[in-house]
């Protein structure tokens, strides 16, 4: 033990140092988690039990999980611990293997949970995605049965996303499951506000939000990127960015760099990303159309105006519709 103390001192860290830090850190952030909890919406405070959630990952990149984990207002820790009972989530849960599987099975048996699906489901051959030795397709079907509603997060779970274009032919939840309310929250990855806002809406009102033809909540997906784009004036004036090095054209329209804003419905220009820090178009990159069912095939090539989506935009422009 003495040896350990010596080693610790060598590194300049004592147990006291380590513990002391905590208090100063709390000051830095102001609110403690618990105080925050007290201020959350009444509807959820009153709930006798937190709604159970099963979060499945199929042909995914975990980007939607990471996006969700990036929520600061409210902090995602408060959502995970205070608002939801996150029973199964491969990337976040403490347990693994059979233990993890047993929690999953118990929750499914119990029923009444919200099912979140991240990633697509291979439709050409089940073996492209096995979890616990079982086809992901079977797991989604099984977990859907006793779910109250299903949230398909991200482009992949909503419409197949990029995997749809591959030989595994990824499909969205709606292509597989019927007879259950399904809410699609596309974009690649899901916007954390869209996900948490939808969950809070359901918990607070007991109802699903109003959906569009593609099962996307209208509150987030009813206006085009183009309609709210601050570069739109340049589109009208025909000022298209050619050279990223030129400060004079750095805010020009990105249509000729492949922007699909006019064909894409999401509130990115208003809501923006990463706590309002930025979004694709404001970093000089084109909108790729990731909120649309045609993503990715219709949007490719991404960086020129030669994609199917770009041709549609040109046709609309010619006929004076945009």
């Amino acid at each position: 033990m003495e040896r350990l103390e010596r080693d610790l001192e060598f590194y300049g860290v004592s147990r006291r140092d380590f513990l002391k830090y905590c208090a100063s850190f709390a000051v830095l952030f102001g609110l403690s988690e618990l105080e925050f909890t007290r201020r959350l919406a009444h509807a959820v405070e009153k709930a006798e039990r937190k709604p159970p959630v099963i979060w499945l990952e199929g042909q995914d990149c975990a980007g939607c999980t990471v996006s969700f984990a990036g929520l600061l207002y409210p902090p995602v820790g408060a959502i995970i611990l205070d608002k939801l009972s996150l029973r199964y989530h491969e990337t976040l849960m403490a347990s693994a293997g059979e233990l993890a599987e047993s929690v999953y099975h118990e929750t499914v048996k119990e029923g009444g949970y919200v099912l979140v699906v991240e990633g697509s489901i291979p439709s050409s051959d089940d073996r492209f995605c096995l979890v616990g030795g079982r086809p992901f397709r079977e797991i989604v079907l099984e977990a859907s049965k006793n779910a109250t509603c299903i949230l398909a997060v991200g482009a992949c779970a909503s419409f197949g996303g990029i995997p749809k274009a591959t030989v595994s032919k990824g499909m969205g939840v709606k292509d597989l499951v019927s007879g259950k309310p399904i809410i699609n929250l596309p974009t690649c990855p899901v916007h954390p506000d869209h996900l948490v806002g939808t969950i809070l809406y359901i918990l607070t009102t007991g109802k699903l939000p109003e959906l569009d033809d593609f099962n996307r909540p209208k509150m987030y997906y009813s206006q085009s990127i183009h309609d709210n784009c601050r570069r739109r004036g340049h589109f009208e004036a025909g000022n298209f960015l050619q050279d990223w090095n030129d400060p004079a054209q750095k805010d020009y329209c990105l249509f000729e760099k492949g922007c699909k804003g006019p064909m894409t419905y999401a509130d990115c220009p208003i809501r923006r990303w990463n706590s309002g820090t930025n979004f694709c178009i404001d970093c000089g990159a084109p909108c790729v159309g990731c909120a649309e069912p045609g993503f990715y095939d219709e949007m490719s090539p991404i960086y020129t105006a030669e994609s199917e989506a770009s041709r549609k935009i040109l046709a609309l422009k010619k006929s004076g519709l945009i």
């Binding site: 080693d7 610790l8 860290v13 140092d17 513990l19 905590c22 850190f25 709390a26 988690e33 618990l34 105080e35 909890t37 990149c61 980007g63 990471v66 996006s67 984990a69 990036g70 600061l72 902090p75 820790g77 009972s85 996150l86 029973r87 990337t91 976040l92 849960m93 403490a94 347990s95 693994a96 293997g97 233990l99 993890a100 599987e101 929690v103 051959d125 492209f128 995605c129 979890v131 616990g132 990029i162 030989v167 595994s168 990824g170 050619q242 050279d243 990223w244 090095n245 990303w273 820090t277 694709c280 970093c283 000089g284 990159a285 990715y296 490719s300 090539p301 991404i302 960086y303 020129t304």
Partner: protein, 520 residues
């Protein structure tokens, strides 16, 4: 014949991983690591505009987001003949620096820490720190309500779990703080990256985000806050745990595996790439008293498919790689191929980088009796997070100077259009280790695309000589006294920070063949 146990899914990693081990006399005798998901991104790229590759390959993984975007852009830079201006490289460095800080912090707290603490010890906290009491109260409330998910259930705590209530509570507090800090690190990257996960600004030839001085200041202010957390919390926690309660574990060398390390090298600190944050190099049979670092030569990389679900063929260099799926192949057990360097299985990642760099703090840890293995991996990861923070300050200063020069550039616009023919490769030291992309272009379209990613090196199955992959080798001899509770196995595997979605992204570019599915 020992008892076989299977951990599937291995959770708190990216992607789908199955670990199968054979236990004899309370120890792991044999181990098999299998990647169980494939999407087939690379083959899908064939025939497309090459510039799409950086966008699409970024989606290999959303945890280590944008590492493929950068690596792909570098392979395309070479194939297009593009010269990325120093301004473009500085912004690439800075957004990836932000990504590192986020990624390593996430790995330690969210993905690993729960393996090293007995979370129920918090109920015994007798102190009066209001912050810790609030957390105690919260956890007790969750447990009383019978709903402590996702913190419970877990594998039963063992001799290496910290039980001191105050330490555990502090660790839980840091777990919650880390959630906020890595969200903020990602916001920092989004200043030029556009958003996270998956930046939007890295393209062939440079970046799309023209910087201004206010953004430099915004980044610096956010970096100051990250630095405080990294120095005062993350690094201290790792050192505290590693040399304190887990010192016993550090000395066992649990999970060492093959002692071969590979670093491609990355993160230039000057326009001529003379000085790198992570120098390249190769180490065989590591011995800390005489570390011999050899030069790295990418021509010595080959990939074996003997035990992977791809058409059988001899090991080849990635430029000539192919991926013809054979889902019915006898003896195969993974979608991950087996890359080898001069025929050897290598470890890539933070431990490899800090060994090749001969970092004094890590070597001190070795001199004091710490061994390569689980704890050393966490320590190396923390050390290099600090290096990355310091490098970001340098790059910000350099960017300020650069952007005020006349003719400042972020992109090679002359080489934006795809060439008729071309070949290129790009390397990147991603948070999880050495990453390489190889591309061939014909008729202005992608003719072949290959990526060999860090987790392919680490999680690979056996090769044609029967040599185990690094995860597998690391598991041999690991104590597993209770097969129902294989906590050491997940500790070892998680110490590598697995990213399986990255490792399995390939499919047959020639026939797009998929065999008929048979239910077992």
């Amino acid at each position: 014949m020992g008892r076989k146990i299977v951990v599937d899914p291995v959770t708190r990693i990216e992607g789908h991983l199955r670990i199968e081990v054979e236990i004899e006399n309370g120890k792991v005798k044999e181990a098999w690591s299998s990647g169980t998901m494939a999407r087939g991104f690379e083959a899908m790229l064939i025939g497309r505009d090459p510039r799409d590759a950086s966008y699409v390959t970024s989606r290999f993984c959303g945890v280590c987001y944008s590492v493929h975007q950068l690596c792909s852009a570098r392979a395309l830079d070479m194939a297009f003949g593009a010269q990325v201006p120093w301004g473009g490289n500085l912004i690439r460095n800075l957004v990836m620096g932000a990504q590192y800080i986020y990624d390593h912090v996430l790995h330690f707290y969210q993905l690993s820490a729960l393996d090293y603490i007995d979370i129920m010890a918090v109920t015994e906290y007798k102190g009066r720190d209001p912050d810790l009491l609030a957390i105690k109260e919260k956890i007790v409330k969750l447990v009383k309500a019978g709903d402590p998910h996702p913190l419970l259930p877990r594998y039963k705590p063992d001799e290496f779990c910290v039980r001191d209530p105050e330490v555990v509570l502090t660790a839980v507090k840091h777990y919650l703080d880390a959630l906020k800090m890595h969200a903020k690190a990602r916001n920092m990257g989004a200043i030029w990256g556009g958003r996270t996960p998956h930046y939007q600004n890295i393209v062939v030839g440079g970046v799309t985000s023209y910087p201004d001085i206010n953004q430099v200041m915004q980044f610096k202010t956010m970096l100051d806050e990250q630095k405080r957390f990294v120095d005062d919390v993350y690094v201290k926690d790792v050192i505290y745990f590693g040399t304190g309660p887990l010192w016993k574990l550090a000395k066992t060398g649990l999970g060492a595996g093959h002692r071969n390390y590979l670093v491609y090298g990355d993160f230039p600190l000057d326009p001529n790439w003379k000085e790198l944050v992570f120098p390249s190099g190769v180490v065989y049979d590591f011995d800390h008293t005489e570390p011999k670092v050899r030069p790295f030569d990418h021509n010595k990389i080959t990939e074996s498919v003997k035990y992977a679900w791809y058409r059988e063929r001899e090991p080849v260099h990635p430029f000539d790689g192919e991926q013809v799926f054979d889902l019915d192949k006898k003896g195969a057990y993974s979608f991950v191929k087996a890359p080898r360097y001069e025929g050897r299985a290598m470890e890539v990642g933070p431990l490899a980088r800090m060994i090749v760099k001969k970092h004094p703090v890590l070597f001190d840890f070795f001199r004091r009796g710490g061994k390569v293995g689980v704890v050393a991996r966490h320590l190396a990861r923390a050390i290099e997070t600090q290096l990355m923070v310091e490098a970001c300050y340098r790059w910000l200063d350099q960017l300020l100077v650069e952007m005020t020069k006349p003719g400042f550039k972020i992109h090679d616009t002359d080489h934006w259009e795809p060439p008729a023919e071309g070949m290129g490769y790009g390397f990147h030291e991603a948070p999880r280790g050495a990453l390489g992309h190889w591309v061939k272009i014909r008729d202005k379209k992608i003719a072949n695309y290959q990526a060999v990613v860090p987790s392919t090196w680490n999680a690979s199955p056996r090769d044609e000589k029967g040599q185990r992959g690094q995860y597998e080798e690391s598991l041999i001899g690991v104590p597993c006294p209770d097969p129902e509770n294989p906590i050491n196995i997940v500790r070892v595997v998680r110490s590598f920070d697995p990213c399986l979605a990255c490792a399995i992204h390939v499919i047959d570019p020639v026939t797009n063949e998929v065999r008929k599915f048979v239910v077992e």
